[in-house]
Symmetry: C2
Amino acid sequence: MTTQEERPLLEHVEQPDGVPERLAAQIRFIVEIDKLKTVLRRSPLVADDRLENDAEHSWHLAMMVPILAEYADDPIDVGHTVELVLLHDLVEVYAGDTFLYDDEARQDQEAREQAAADRLFALLPDDQAVRFRALWDEFEARQTPEARFAKAMDRLQPLLLNFNNRGGTWRTPGVTEADVLRRKAVIGEASAELGAYARTLIHLGADRGWVPRAGAEPDAG
Amino acid sequence: MTTQEERPLLEHVEQPDGVPERLAAQIRFIVEIDKLKTVLRRSPLVADDRLENDAEHSWHLAMMVPILAEYADDPIDVGHTVELVLLHDLVEVYAGDTFLYDDEARQDQEAREQAAADRLFALLPDDQAVRFRALWDEFEARQTPEARFAKAMDRLQPLLLNFNNRGGTWRTPGVTEADVLRRKAVIGEASAELGAYARTLIHLGADRGWVPRAGAEPDAG
């Protein structure tokens, strides 16, 4: 994969003479976030034999929100929740994707992502930078019903990919059914019904041997 | 590329026993639209040496809407416009992408896409099928300010990719600056300022030889 260092887009993005500075800044940001399409996740697609990238993952979550909003335990503003999921991974254009089951990488994840947010959102005009940063902070803090539901979608979607791929990232060495259940518990914090559905899929996956039951040796796969 | 015929996802998608039919239908639809990630467009990414797919294209438009909404000549509801762009290409999971400069394929495009819409949205529970179909019909009819702005984003985004790729699909044999200006005129129908910006980029691209000036021979490249 081409690294971001080899493709310093911002230095290449050119504006014709006479474009107002505000529009030029907005266009630079829009071109810069093209990079999100190159940030690969660990989950394989269902529809093809390759890994998913952050941009198509974010689109998928945004489609799920209006379809599944009726299961939110606290009422949510659908449009606001869609905005949260659309930009929830944006800082990964600089910070990269952090795998859910990589405990080491997760330790400095917050610091890396905060630094990336500082850098990325500063490309926008000030008013829009403040607004996008507030949305991303809201997603991360998970204190509003919308942020909780957005996070639930972020955990449910790869679960759907994994289940329909006969395991997917559940087959990561050392990961057990108990790990998956623990990491997916946030789904139930936003929706009891979707939380129950998620647990059912995980149990069925374990029944079929796609993820070992709790108690398996680490690194036993 | 693996064809959709080789991957009849719907037949593979399994639901555990006891899942309510409404939720099962919603999840089947969500898994089925994973296919949008495999529908390739003609535009190359800026951030990598590959073609863009419909899902990441749709995400990019959804990010552009709140950033550029201030340039809409008629006021738009941002959340509604975001919904339109998120699903505007969804029927392509069955109908495939139709290239903007392929006049032959564009002749039966509407019939192919209507049939695909009938098939795809029927997967959803009735109330959601009706709602999604209405949104897609609204986008296609381009009669509301939101639909016009959504369409403008759909034409502006590949223009940004092409310009930052020193031509991209502008280099298609037979395509001239006049063709690009004509196809991109819908941007100006939603926003005079963004329309002017688009024309500036196209003229600058022609100045640099990335697309031939009007009058070049067809198929002359």
